[in-house]
């Protein structure tokens, strides 16, 4: 579902690994990734960004510390999501916040400088 939306609307960002449900949206400053990580502790989320790549890793424990599980629908254990990023993403200014089980990663684009005259030697 995400892949379709990505390829159709934002050819710059491609999904590599899809272990976490997330969507990518366009914002005024660039892109924003929202990943659903309900019940995951903030300390158990790893976010990596370098030129061309965004990796989200998370570890989710069982819903029940005690008792018997009757039905399981939520993912447990290690989860991973990976995107290829376009070069225009300003890697140094990527920021993230985690609130109510939703991870929001802001990926601003580099300021485009206007056309510049190049002197000929």
């Amino acid at each position: 579902m995400t892949v379709i939306a990505l390829n159709r609307c934002y050819p710059g960002i491609r999904e590599k690994e899809a272990g976490i449900e997330a969507v990518v949206g366009r914002t005024d400053e660039g892109f924003e990734v929202r990943a659903a990580l309900p019940g995951v502790d903030k300390e158990k989320i790893t976010l990596l960004v370098d030129s061309g790549r965004l990796v989200i890793k998370a570890l989710r424990e069982s819903s029940f510390a005690q008792g018997r599980e009757i039905r399981r629908e939520l993912a447990q254990g290690e989860m991973k999501k990976e995107y290829y990023l376009p070069e225009s993403v300003d890697v140094d200014n990527v920021s993230a916040r985690f609130e109510n089980g939703l991870l929001t990663v802001r990926l601003p684009l580099r300021q485009q400088s206007g056309p510049r005259a190049v002197s000929i030697e």
Binding site: G19, A22, V23, A36, E73, L74, A75, N100, L102
Partner: protein, 157 residues
């Protein structure tokens, strides 16, 4: 987070023993079954999306742990009627984000719901619900043994 599909092997195992929750799932889930089921954050359908949940129990209570990432607790409603537990939630976008325009179409907003048929031994007066870190915790204490049992005196003609 991707919902985990229960495999047939486990289903058989569960079916062998008495499981009050199973009856509900088989009956109600088909109502929402859809080839292209909307997800937790990515949905564009007008109909409510299915809330995924883990269900467990211990000696004192049944426990429902429903995934509702990025919600406000004011937008989550929990009710019990005719032995059916209903969870309804709505995600509303902040005004500033609506102005961004593009995002609205992609990010999940709208209504979510899930219903569970409850076993008879739930003490409805003591059902407790909390929302924390994107998970709605519902504890459904069991009635003490004997509370749901009543002797009926047989009268003579």
């Amino acid at each position: 987070m991707k919902p985990v599909k229960r495999n047939d092997e486990k289903r058989m195992d569960v079916a062998r023993r008495y499981d009050p929750f199973r009856d509900f799932f088989d009956e109600f889930e088909s109502m929402f079954e859809d080839f292209f089921r909307p997800g937790l954050v990515s949905r564009t359908e007008d109909s409510p999306a299915l809330i995924h949940a883990d269900v467990g129990e211990d000696d004192e209570k049944y426990m429902v742990r429903a995934a509702l990432p990025g919600m406000d607790e004011e937008n989550i409603k929990v009710s019990v009627e005719d032995g059916v537990l209903s969870i309804q939630a709505e995600r509303t976008e902040e005004e500033s984000e609506e102005k961004k325009g593009y995002f609205r179409r992609e990010i999940g907003y709208g209504r979510y719901e899930r219903r569970f048929r409850l076993p008879d031994n739930v003490n409805l007066d003591k059902v407790d619900a909390r929302y924390k870190n994107g998970i709605l915790d519902i504890d459904l204490p069991k009635k003490e043994k004997g509370m749901s049992k009543k002797e009926i005196k047989v009268k003579g003609a």
